[in-house]
């Protein structure tokens, strides 16, 4: 597996296993006039990294997240996730790739309202083919990891915003994915809960989970070991690992 990454933005240290790489990625939406959301992005994430991608609205953050998460394909360029170049994969294969290798955390949490925290987290494994008992056992452990051991049987609507986002983080972690992509995970939370979620992300990254956090808030992004700035569809800067 070889990666061609531009000199100054080449980030993973030599020898580190790359779990996500984008090379020359562009994304154009065929509207009139066409919108060029990404204009040649080179970006790579090594196993165990915690990267903040920061940019103002309209900078292409969401498009970047969707392409990193294989929810969308680039117009040109290569995307490789967990060793799979998505060019070679069918739509069905991409679903399989997501179910095994990518975890998502969304700004709006996206929990099923009538279901318990445990069931919501277990749904993170729904399409993996694991049986329900195993899924629930793993969900239980994931909820303990995010500090919600006492909320297992609470339905989603009865949880606070911060708790809901913790459930969503647990759902993203439960399948031990190669990478977790978080889209404005603190966007719907107050300051106190935001800090708690950022703290949780740090803590889980310390346990070895690879994270890419997309945010418009430079303060949050700067707090991560590595920050990349996105503007007008291009990576403007990339600090690399600051350790």
């Amino acid at each position: 597996m070889t990666f061609i990454v531009s000199e100054e933005r080449s980030v993973p240290a030599a020898g580190a296993e790359v779990v996500l790489s984008l090379h020359g990625v562009t994304k154009e939406y065929p509207t009139t006039p066409p919108v060029r959301a990404l204009r040649g992005v080179d970006f790579a994430v090594a196993r165990g990294e915690l990267v903040g991608v920061v940019g103002p609205s309209g900078s292409g953050k969401s498009t970047l997240l969707h392409i990193m998460g294989t929810l969308d394909r680039p117009t040109t360029g290569d995307v490789t996730v967990a060793g799979y170049n998505i060019k070679d994969l069918s739509d069905k294969d991409l679903s399989a790739l997501r179910s095994r290798h990518i975890g998502f955390v969304f700004q709006q949490f996206h929990l099923l309202s009538g279901y318990t925290a445990l069931d919501n987290v277990a749904d993170g494994l729904l399409y993996t083919g694991l049986n329900v008992t195993t899924r629930r056992e793993m969900a239980h452990r994931a909820l303990l990891r995010v500090g919600l051991g006492h909320r297992l049987d609470h339905v989603a609507t009865k949880l606070s915003g911060g708790e809901r986002q913790r459930v969503a983080v647990a759902r993203a972690l439960v399948g031990t994915p190669s990478i977790v992509l978080a889209d404005e995970p603190t966007g719907n939370l107050d300051t106190k809960n935001s800090e708690a979620i950022v703290e949780l992300i740090h803590q889980i990254n310390d346990e070895g989970v690879t994270f890419v956090v997309i945010t418009h808030n430079p303060e949050i992004a700067e707090a991560f070991p590595r920050t990349a700035g996105l503007r007008d569809g291009r990576i403007e800067y990339d600090t690399g690992e600051r350790r």
């Binding site: 969401s62 969707h66 998460g69 929810l71 969308d72 799979y84 070679d88 994969l89 739509d91 069905k92 294969d93 679903s95 399989a96 790739l97 997501r98 179910s99 095994r100 990518i102 998502f104 969304f106 709006q108 996206h110 099923l112 309202s113 009538g114 279901y115 749904d123 993170g124 729904l126 399409y127 993996t128 083919g129 049986n131 329900v132």
Partner: protein, 401 residues
């Protein structure tokens, strides 16, 4: 199962299909119930109609079984060119000589009126006729006595009468306790019995029946048969029917009307069948409307749940998994509607049949067909929304959230 590229395909277990299909029902219970209600009504209508039709048919069969289909009547035609209203005196004797004829009973219309008392004005006859009958009439017609007794060899020679059910009601006589008298042919007659309805010969319900001898001796009546009731061997009904007119009146067979009263009951049932078809049609329309309701709810549901669809795609659901989820939801809704409809249809049939004194019969085909029709409607209604949900791109679904 591992593919060439080493990826383990996304997989959704059968029980999980059911679970995801029930998410919508679980989170929006009232809406689910209301949309299933359309199907409930449609299926209930169809099951009810088929059940009622079957129950009434079984009642008719029981009735025919009880009354027999081997009763034939021979009646003299009345009117210019079609007869004088009289059969030849020897007609009954000749008919009884046809091999398969088991029993004959003669009725002779008497030109007399009946009143409650001699004070009642002459014009107020109440539409009650007077008929002179053989004593075996009740036996031949499979009739029964409501109160008192029927005519026998003894009472058929005295001024006594037996009243048909309608005649008794019009004369204000419910039972024969004490001495009930009526003013018949300008003299007092004693009522010795009131009969139940004649299911095979309703004309006699509106008659006062007297014995042949009584008619001759007290009413100056010359006994000429106006109609003859015939019981034949059930195996030879058609054969006997074909020779009856000529046997009863060899000279003017065209003036004789031959009928099989049980045909009238069967014709009534055939008319009911036409109504059954009509109501089935109405049930089908209700079902169709129910299906449109489900399709409508599913389309709205897909629009509302775009973020859920996006989430599921992000969690690894394939397009097929999403389609199966929404199709499954439509099927689940219609199955609930179908089962509810069968139950309701059954209950309605049970109550109505009970009121009518029938036994409740639901044809198994109505149950199976009802649920199958509901599922078919659900599948058709759910197909388009399911395809729409599956075609939604994950990014679009997540963006609209």
């Amino acid at each position: 199962m591992s593919r060439g590229n080493g990826l383990v395909p996304s997989k959704l277990h059968g029980t999980d299909v059911l679970r995801t299909a029930s998410v919508g029902l679980h989170t929006r219970k009232l809406r689910a119930a209301l949309s299933a209600l359309g199907i409930v009504i449609g299926i209930a209508a169809m099951v009810g109609v088929l059940g009622l039709s079957e129950s009434s048919k079984s009642d008719l069969l029981a009735q025919l079984d009880r009354l027999g289909t081997n009763l034939l009547t021979v009646q003299a035609g009345t009117g210019i060119g079609i007869g004088s209203g009289e059969l030849p005196t020897e007609a009954a004797g000749m008919i009884s000589r046809i091999g398969p004829v088991e029993q004959t009973s003669t009725i002779s219309a008497v030109a007399a009126n009946v009143y409650k008392s001699d004070y009642v004005p002459e014009g107020q006859t109440g539409g009650i006729t007077v008929q002179a009958v053989d004593v075996n009439l009740l036996d031949t017609l499979a009739g029964s006595v409501a109160d008192g007794k029927s005519l026998d060899e003894a009472t058929a020679t005295y001024p006594t009468a037996v009243l048909g059910s309608v005649a008794a009601e019009r004369l204000g006589i419910r039972d024969v306790t004490g001495t009930q008298q009526i003013w018949l042919g300008d003299q007092w007659f004693t009522v010795i019995g009131v009969l139940d309805e004649f299911e095979l010969n309703p004309d006699l319900d509106r008659a006062a029946l007297v014995g042949m001898t009584t008619a001759e001796e007290f009413l100056d009546h010359e006994v000429v048969p106006s109609s003859i009731l015939i019981r034949v061997d059930p195996a030879f009904v058609d054969e006997v029917t074909s020779v009856l007119a000529a046997t009863a009146s060899p000279q003017n067979p065209e003036e004789v009307q031959v009928a099989r009263p049980s045909d009238a009951l069967e014709a009534k049932e055939a008319a009911d069948d036409a109504f059954t078809a009509l109501f089935l049609g109405l049930g089908a329309v209700a079902l169709l409307v129910g299906g449109v309701g489900i399709a409508n709810v599913m389309v709205i549901s897909v629009l509302e749940r775009r973020s859920e669809i996006g989430l599921r795609r992000a969690l690894g659901a394939t397009k097929r998994h999403v389609a199966v989820q929404f199709l499954g939801e439509a099927l689940l809704l219609s199955a609930v509607g179908g089962i509810g409809g069968v139950a309701l249809g059954w209950a309605v049939t049970g109550v109505y049949a009970n009121v009518r004194g029938w036994s409740t019969l639901i044809p198994p085909i109505a149950i199976a067909g009802g649920i199958a029709a509901a599922l078919l409607i659900g599948a058709v209604a759910g197909l388009y929304p399911a395809i729409r949900a599956a075609r939604l791109s994950p990014t679009e679904a997540l963006r609209s959230a």
